[in-house]
Amino acid sequence: MSEVLNLQEKLVKEFALVEGALNGQAKTPVHAIRKQAMKRFAELGFPTIRHEEWKYTNIMPVVKNDYVLAPQSSTTLTKADIEPFLMPDVKANVLVFVNGAYAANLSTIISTKNVEILPLVEAFTKKTVIVEQHFAQIAAWQNDAMLALNTAFALNGAYIEIAKGAVVEEPFHLLFVNDSRAQSTFAPARNLIVVGANAEATIVESAHTLATGENVGFTNVVSEVVLADNARLHHYKIQNDVEQSHFIGALYAHQEATSVLNTVVVTLSGGIVRNNLSAVLAGKGADTHFYGLYLVNGKTLVDNHTLADHAVAHCTSNELYKGIMDDRSTGVFNGKIMVRADAQKTLAYQSNRNILMSPHATVNTKPQLEIFADDVKCSHGCTAGQLDDESVFYLRARGLDKEQAQALLLYAFAGEITEKIGLEPLRERLETIIAERLHQELV
């Protein structure tokens, strides 16, 4: 327990230091929220498995490490260092954050029309009205220690605003590099993404850790997303990080009428990975899609918590998460559909399907439905099992060996999620990685 207090104490101390260095911002509403959030984090402390929301995910191995707190020192990373993390063959706006801090020298901005891109800390002063309207308003931090912590340290990260009616073709790649080569590092970041009415954009988020020896990187990225009427956002979160990394992050969306949110979360490797995803369907006809794939092995733990919150009538949510777990890996899925009293004519679907490849792999899956309206269509289901023997035999009876047959079936199982990625080069790259992982060159 004393180790836990250590990181917590360290964070409280660090906050006081950062606060002391603030010039002129100390009295702003945003700063007031951050101070309250810090206070709240100090009260709550890091969550343990006694918390219902963290029952299957013990983050003691994450918080026990001796981290430096996002050192602000200028990075020595070069473009060559981050090259492997970029999407090949994609013309994208690449915003690179090293240990949370925006690295202008590593970033590439190509979209200039109808788009406002700023480090969040600059947006606090340049975009005060919008920031004060949304910051920490979508993500309710009051009873969530990890979110309170992120809110308190919300300085680094991106502010992206898409103007009304603009369709931005080039995706935004938010690339978070945790440089833990010198020392284990805790790197929080916070994004605010505002998509104007009738506007459309694509965001890719990925986190990558550079660690040597025993060092471990701990990355914490939270995004708040606002979709105005009829706005469309495609959000792809790709997690293919090293073993010596932990990631706890979240995306909180607020959707106005007839807006569409498409999210795909793909987790291929890492240490302990926790993703919270929540959308409030606040305007009639809003539509949200949650897709997830976790294909993990070794000792990776991946935990996805989702919430589709139907606040008004005539909204749709559709969710499919699929997992393939090998070795001693663990999957956790907790998907909640909330249908509030006013949300008549809601359509809400949820499914979680898992394949366990090893007797030592585990999955904990829990669908939750809370329905307070009476005229709705909701369904949920979850499965956990092995590959279908009859399918394997069918393929073998056509000449494929057992491993090929299994790989082909797993590839197809995963493909139902990857096909939801509209950004073709990204989808193809992921499919290649997955195919290689499944030791097959068939497709």
């Binding site: 279908d388 494929l400 060996d401 079936l409 199982f413």
Partner: protein, 254 residues
Amino acid sequence: MLTITSLQASVEGKEILKGINLTIGKGEIHAIMGPNGSGKSTLASVLAGREDYDVTGGTVTFQGADLLEMSPENRAREGVFLAFQYPVEIPGVSNTNFLKAAVNEVRKHRGQEPMEPKAFLTMMREKMALVEMDQAMVSRSVNEGFSGGEKKRNEIFQMAMLEPKLSILDETDSGLDIDALKIVANGVNKLRSKETSTIVITHYQRLLDYIVPDFVHVLYKGRIVKSGGKELALELEAKGYDWIKDLAQEEVTA
């Protein structure tokens, strides 16, 4: 081609095949008929290498080699093809990619290079015509959402693509309407050659109007109780299976 000697097999400890003897020569079509539960599908499964079945006795020699020693995939590569009674739906795997993988595995086994994409497509088009499959069906996932008739046509299409030496059609006629039956039978007939052999497993004589067998065997309670020419099928159709049961009873008591 295939010699089955005193083959015994059981599933979950229950003996199903109680000593099958059967010799199939090159270019021959053998029909295996029998009432439900007589062991017809078990015989097909054992020959294809389904793992739920335990072979408890006897031998199966395919082209001089011990078939029972081979893995299911090696049997397929050596030229044994099972047309499934219940073809499996495989969402996410396109027929084309699946067949490319299968055809190339068979070629690799024979020491041949993988097929050029263009040659493969030409071959596909040619074989599709045999069972009146269209491009849309071939582009879809394997059997996904296919009707019963489409699934059976797809089996024969796969058979055509893999060019097996011995084909085993396991109740390929079940669930087919007469038009689909004719298409399937027509495909099988066109693939007939002096070099290949076929085992047609069926409950009804109907399919044998279209695929005319050289020999008919009646399987009952795990044994072949009667063999004959194609006229035996007609006799069964006319008289039903009861006289076969009586026949088997006599044999046992004698």
